[in-house]
Symmetry: C2
Subunit: 231 residues, 2 copies
DNA sequence: GAAACGCTTCGGCCGATCCCGAAGTGTCGA
DNA sequence: TCGACACTTCGGGATCGGCCGAAGCGTTTC
């Protein structure tokens, strides 16, 4: 009744729902996840999750970033994480420290698919390699493949002239939520990912968006793109 | 669904009720309060508060210490306080730091009534003064007034022989929840408090259990008991 | 012993909210 | 333009939890 006090209960009540708790825990490492991914993490239907996400966003616990038809949610501030850790410490009572990351989180950060192209450290490294060699030039919301880039990609097994030039973006940057830097999307990004899969350099990991880099892939990325992935 | 996770939501849900939040905030400074006091702080009826306190105790957020017909509740561990501060930081969002203590809390710590005797720093100091001079001797659950003590108290205006020697405890220690040390209770403690009120040394503060020490009282406590209260 | 007091338990009312099925909006790709 | 997809909004059903009046239990005081 003294101004700030009611909101304390409101915030706690927001956390005090299993589905919302699962959502917050899933976001605890700072990554941004889509509504559908969070619905799976929450263990309830997408509609129900949508309502929860709306409440959490309105209460400034989460922030929403729309990207195409996806809605990426992430924790609004490190304070949220601290609060959750405080609650977990009381709940666990014994182990004050909770798992700071997901199972498989490191794998996701290393390399994963983002829709149909590559993301994570690998995706960002690929974009970096291509841009520093001026094979592609990326702007804020688009990009082009340079003539040298066309040659390079042809040598890699991708004919950019064969790529569908329809309504879908040809080459554009896509903000990587774990690396906070752009990786390569569009048909070029998609073709690049497909080629890497075809070459056996990478393989999908069951039930996740993570991809595993095979030994041959490790050597290939190093030789072709100058990318060194740590073990 | 993974063992410890549900309890996180449970703990948060426990905090996520205005009445319970008020209870926890009232206990935030580590003091122990009675069920009735907490009912007032919570803003709901004593029955409802009793239910809340039972839940909080069962969840190990509070611990209960029964003393006579009173039930003293306090936070089970410093972790609870940390958790609350974390939630408050998120709720306030702007000012990350919350008032760490109650309004009037310092006054309560300085001097207050405990049922009908004195508690707080003043109450503990009085008990200390009387015991170090061996005017009273306190054991774990009882106490006696020495002959020297009878003389001293008579000089102060209290005739211990006139005190009701009925079923009520004559002289006993009472654990002080803010100082964590015993102060003087029983008919002797009550008579001592009444005499201080009668002398005008202390005066009740409206709507609280706090008592204000008058300037004359400050001098009196110093001269009679050797107690120096800081301003 | 009786009355007062503090606290708790019981019973029932009520509102909140959690959830999903169905439908609507906007984007993407062919 | 059309279908697929991601997400949200709408509607209603069922459950849960908060709240208080009344009553019960134990302690304290007279």
């Amino acid at each position: 009744m003294a101004g700030t006090e009611p909101s304390i209960a409101e915030v706690a009540a927001l956390v005090g729902n299993p589905a919302r708790t699962n959502v917050l825990i899933a976001l605890l490492d700072g990554r941004a996840l889509t509504a559908t991914e969070l619905a799976y993490a929450a263990g309830v239907s997408p509609q129900t999750t949508s309502g929860h996400l709306a409440k959490l966003t309105q209460a400034r616990l989460l922030v929403l970033a729309k990207q195409g038809r996806h809605a990426y949610y992430r924790l609004a501030s490190p304070l949220i994480g601290r609060m959750l850790e405080g609650i977990m410490a009381v709940a666990a009572d014994g182990p004050p420290r909770y798992r700071p990351r997901w199972r498989g989180d490191e794998a996701l950060r290393t390399a994963r698919t983002c829709y149909d192209h590559l993301a994570g450290r690998l995706g960002v490294a690929l974009a970096d390699a291509l841009t520093t060699r001026e094979h592609v030039v990326l702007s804020d919301d688009g990009g082009v493949v340079t003539p040298a880039g066309e040659d390079f990609l042809r040598g890699f097994g991708i004919d950019v002239h064969m790529l569908n030039r329809g309504r879908r973006a040809f080459c554009r940057p896509c903000l990587d939520w774990s690396e906070r830097r752009p990786h390569l999307a569009g048909t070029v990004g998609s073709a690049l990912a497909n080629r890497c899969f075809a070459l056996g350099w990478i393989a999908p990991v069951r039930d996740t968006r993570a991809v595993r880099v095979a030994p041959i892939g490790r050597r290939g990325f190093a030789a072709t793109f100058g990318i060194e992935l740590d073990a």
